[in-house]
Amino acid sequence: SCLSCTGWDAVEDVLVNAARGTQRLGHSLTFMQKHPKIQPQMRSILLDWLIEVSEAYTLHRQTFYLAQDYFDRFMLTQKNLDKSVLQLIGVTCLFIASKMEEANPPKLSEMACVTAGAFYEDEILKMELIILQALNWSLRSETALSWLRLFLQIASMNVTSELLESQFP
């Protein structure tokens, strides 16, 4: 979310919309409980690796954060996954996020390449469909970065002069 794309919205509305959007996507901290075979550190390692891949392909920061969001939400839809598929899920989330955010997203072959032979291209394609369906094709997530952008925008603008209330208290 951002202010100027809803030009006539009050700051409050934009914030509420952004929060509501986030809520609708149903995040939850409980996903680790659904996957007893996965330890929290494994998620950290995976995300670190995704940052490295993002740097290697000079992706936007927002792309990485989107991928992280897709990953977290996807894990909530699954049960008892094995750590062996984590990297596949992670790289596929980054693949999808690149398509949403990048002007020149990396090719499928490049995505397969960074897994150093662990996964083939057709596995990423299959996983792409599984993830998209599990996420119900909802790919517009608020990320840490989009929240930050919104807060900075609000902080830098002088709204009080434009509102009815302040002129007619």
């Binding site: 951002c2 100027s4 030009g7 997203p105 090719k107 952008r149 603008m157 007619f168």
Partner: protein, 281 residues
């Protein structure tokens, strides 16, 4: 796909075919876009993913109707775009002030009174403003700020009363500001030299009460669209030329005034003529 039954073909674009279909379970009429996946080497195309995102945004009422967001393609098709690409612009530093101002002119009065909940009525108000602007070649309500914006609207539509706008009492900024009472000015004076049918249609959109604004579906049945000049076929539309050639003059429309009592089919362009053109119906 089993959830839908195809009713017909609406059009074909560069990226796929659009079908009219019915959702079997709910009976709802929908448009289905079949994307040609010619080369799937990179999975689901980004185009498709971004279109789905755009549709979800439209569903969430995030589009912003104003002339600056309306595009006419070289083939005469009208497209609604959203240039609220705040990311691109804000990264350059300054906010585009003119962009903000232009949006205000099409803002529905309930929003000016601080409405928190609103519906498609805000778009219908914007449609009225745009329609009036097309007729007049200048914006109807060019307010310099939010207060003046309200003044502009009130000057033309008259000071709202509980009769003309029952919902006004529930709006947050009602009572925060009072304006000198003035009667409405007939739209004929605001938009002079305009056919009465156009004025009549304009009146249907520029209504204080959001619920009473004419829906898009109903508006299409208004006599305005069945009186001269009739809606033009895409191929007849004057298109600005890049090379400095004067635009092709539109053929003088035949002076027809078709009756609205006739079935709609009698009045519309033969669908076969539209094939390959009607991508955005």
């Amino acid at each position: 796909m089993e959830q839908y039954s195809i009713l017909g073909r609406i059009g074909e674009g560069a990226h796929g075919i659009v079908f009219k279909a019915k959702h079997v379970e709910t009976g709802e009429t929908v448009a289905l876009k079949k994307v040609a996946l010619r080369k799937l080497e990179d999975g689901i195309p980004n185009q498709a993913l971004r279109e789905i995102k755009a549709l979800q945004e439209i569903e969430d009422n995030q589009c912003d109707l104003k002339p600056a967001n309306l595009l006419i393609s070289s083939s005469g098709h009208l497209k609604i775009a959203d240039f609220g690409l705040a990311r691109l612009f804000s990264e350059q530093g300054e906010r585009l002030y003119s962009h903000q101002v232009a949006t205000r002119w099409y803002r529905a009065p309930e929003l000016l009174y601080g409405a928190r909940k609103y519906d498609e009525g805000v778009d219908l108000w914007a449609v009225g403003c745009i329609f009036g602007e097309l007729l007049n070649s200048s914006p109807l309500f060019p307010g310099e700020n939010d207060i003046e914006q309200l003044c502009c609207v009130l000057r033309v539509l008259g000071t709202p009363t509980q009769d003309t706008w029952p919902e006004i009492v529930e709006l947050p900024d009602y009572n925060k500001i009072t304006f000198k009472e003035n009667p409405a000015i007939p739209l004929e004076e605001i938009v002079p030299d305009t056919p009465p049918q156009a004025i009549s249609l304009l009146y249907k959109f520029l209504v204080y009460s959001s619920k009473q604004r004419c829906s898009a579906r109903r508006a299409l049945l208004h006599p305005y669209f069945f009186s001269s000049p009739l809606p033009a076929h895409h191929s007849e539309l004057p298109i600005p030329h890049l090379g400095g050639h004067p635009p092709r003059q539109r053929l003088q429309p035949p002076s027809l005034d078709l009756s609205v009592d006739l079935p709609l089919q009698n009045n519309v362009v033969d669908p076969t003529l539209l094939q390959g053109h009607a991508t955005c119906l």
